[in-house]
Subunit: 344 residues, 2 copies
């Protein structure tokens, strides 16, 4: 049974003063006598007063809510980003409302179309991997809702974006493979059209170019981001005409999938085929052999995205910004050619 909660009116009645004064006492300090203020505050805590955000939101034309649209949260990267977002939001008294698209464009569109600036102060979004119409986001932006994209950003929309340095990360990954003695390097990556996919692919080509190493179209496989996709891609590479001696995966899940597939085919990972991933998912330390990878600043991406969004919310004319955070190489067993492997 829902009880009636304490309102500003209750406090006013108890003290025999007006609601206006109570409101001021609760918020501003000016224009109200210290003693009055104290009395109000005392009664407020005594009656366990909590502001009604519907009411404040209605009059101030703002909720303290920011929406977060994300393909999935059951993976290290995204859940860490959200943790970062949440951290900043909490510090600034903003709530985060979570929308999970399950990486489906239909869900994404349905969700976004239902959003409005009457229920949200701003939006943080990571688009689903198969989305290619972005008008639903553009509409929201045109309506005046501040939007910041992260990780999977939309190139054609002008707004703030936060991502890791995909190009240099990929470059480092491939360079590491080359320096470790691999020279038939394949790349299993995400769907086309995603800026992240493009940039990592570009980094891959750039590194090959710089070291004068050949690549073949069949060595670049576009598919999804899951572990299963990684397994399938690896099998495809193994079954091809030219079998590579190293695989650069667009993320650690795919890299792990590839490692599992290779192991099942009795291929010694590292020794025969090197594998490097991208993310620094904790599984990269658990899989055997442990996985070399490019560490993404997931938490920082969350922090930065949310900070940027808050700036947009607070200054209506804050200029859109693109933030690129550094990635860094972590070398483990999967890119080392003859290691004294630890037992199993």
């Amino acid at each position: 049974m829902r009880k009636r909660y304490t309102t500003i009116k209750d406090i006013a009645r108890v003290l025999g003063i007006s609601v206006a004064t109570v409101s001021r006492a609760l918020r501003d300090s000016y224009d109200v006598r210290p003693e009055t203020r104290k009395k109000v505050l005392d009664v407020a805590t005594e009656l366990n007063y909590k502001p009604n955000f519907n009411a404040t939101g209605l009059v101030r034309q703002s909720t303290h809510n920011i929406g977060v649209i994300i393909p999935t949260i059951t993976n290290y990267y995204f859940s860490t980003v959200i943790t970062g977002i949440q951290e900043v939001a909490q510090r600034n008294d903003f709530n985060i409302i979570l929308y999970i698209t399950n990486d489906s464009p239909e869900n994404e569109i349905r969700i976004v179309k239902n959003l409005s600036l009457s229920s949200l102060d701003g939006l943080l979004a990571c688009v689903s991997s198969q989305t290619n119409f972005y008008t639903h986001f553009q509409d929201l932006i045109d309506d005046g809702l501040p939007v910041v994209f992260f990780d999977r950003v939309v190139p054609t929309i002008h707004t703030s974006k936060v991502m890791q340095d995909d190009f240099n990360g990929a470059f480092m990954a491939v360079e590491t493979l080359i320096k470790s003695g691999y020279n038939k390097i394949a790349h299993i990556t995400g769907p086309k059209g995603l800026q992240l996919t493009d940039n990592r692919l570009l980094g891959y080509y750039a590194a090959l170019d710089q070291y004068g190493i050949a690549s073949y179209p069949e060595w670049v496989i576009h598919s999804g981001f899951s572990q299963k996709d990684g397994e399938e891609d690896a099998l495809k590479l193994l079954g091809g005409e030219r079998v590579p001696d190293a695989i650069f995966a667009v993320n650690d899940r795919k890299a792990v999938g590839a490692i599992l597939a290779l192991k099942r085919n009795a291929i010694k990972v590292g020794e025969e085929i090197g594998v490097i991933g991208f993310t620094n998912d904790p599984i990269s330390e658990i899989v055997s052999p442990t996985l070399s990878t490019i560490a993404e600043p997931a938490y920082e991406i969350g922090l930065k995205s949310c900070e940027l969004l808050l700036k947009h919310i607070r200054k209506s004319h804050f200029e859109a910004q693109e933030v690129i955070l550094e990635s860094r190489l972590i070398q483990r067993e999967s890119t080392i050619r003859s290691i004294s492997r630890q037992s199993s």
Copy 2:
């Protein structure tokens, strides 16, 4: 720059009718002529009308928000639970507002104290592992806010709870170890006072009892839930007077920690010391040897919790319910005594 959005008044003005009629046309179907209704709907879509939830919330005394309090989301179990929650919430047009406590009682208390039934229709909560005062939750319930606990539930609070069958899961886990030939079985578990910890511990003792197997106090180690805790606990067991030949871990993260620690000490997992976990985290298939475990119905726990909460929200006198979902055994390599181990 935030634009003014379309309101019900705009629609009324365009059509020269009253806001009441527009409101009715938008919601009920009765008491408004079909043609009028159609005109309203047409204008609404044309002007891209979206209801202002602050306003509706204010008058209906309800937001469509449910809060979710959770220690962390960067792990398989919790992120999957949330995905389940989100699924039901979305289907029922409820938003979920996410609060992450980082497993800290101070954060939890601060967050809960700021909550109120003017901003939330209900709350789903999983308490932090070190919390032992629960008055902050009780206060909220006393205020009339529907609360459903999941996983880590609070025994002393009367409200709906959803959890997996911890007792039987633990029983199965230990039974499996026994049937695989282990008989010096240790248990590394979570903090005392948590119902989940207690129930799994009880299941552990019950299985040992049933098979007439001895246990020793030093074989039951209470600590945190992290992988690191698992490593430390395992080392403690190895360094003890009586070294066990099997470890039942309260969750997969700790089990993985234990496996890693054992491997570093050149102990053959499975062969020499069996390990079984709890959760069925995807890492359990990736770690080597693969980890036997008790699969928790994480997604279903999310679904069920949210469904239950919605019932509480909709029926103010809905009776509190305790739901216990089944866990099931998944046997892999870590509990098999001599396996033809796959290459590394």
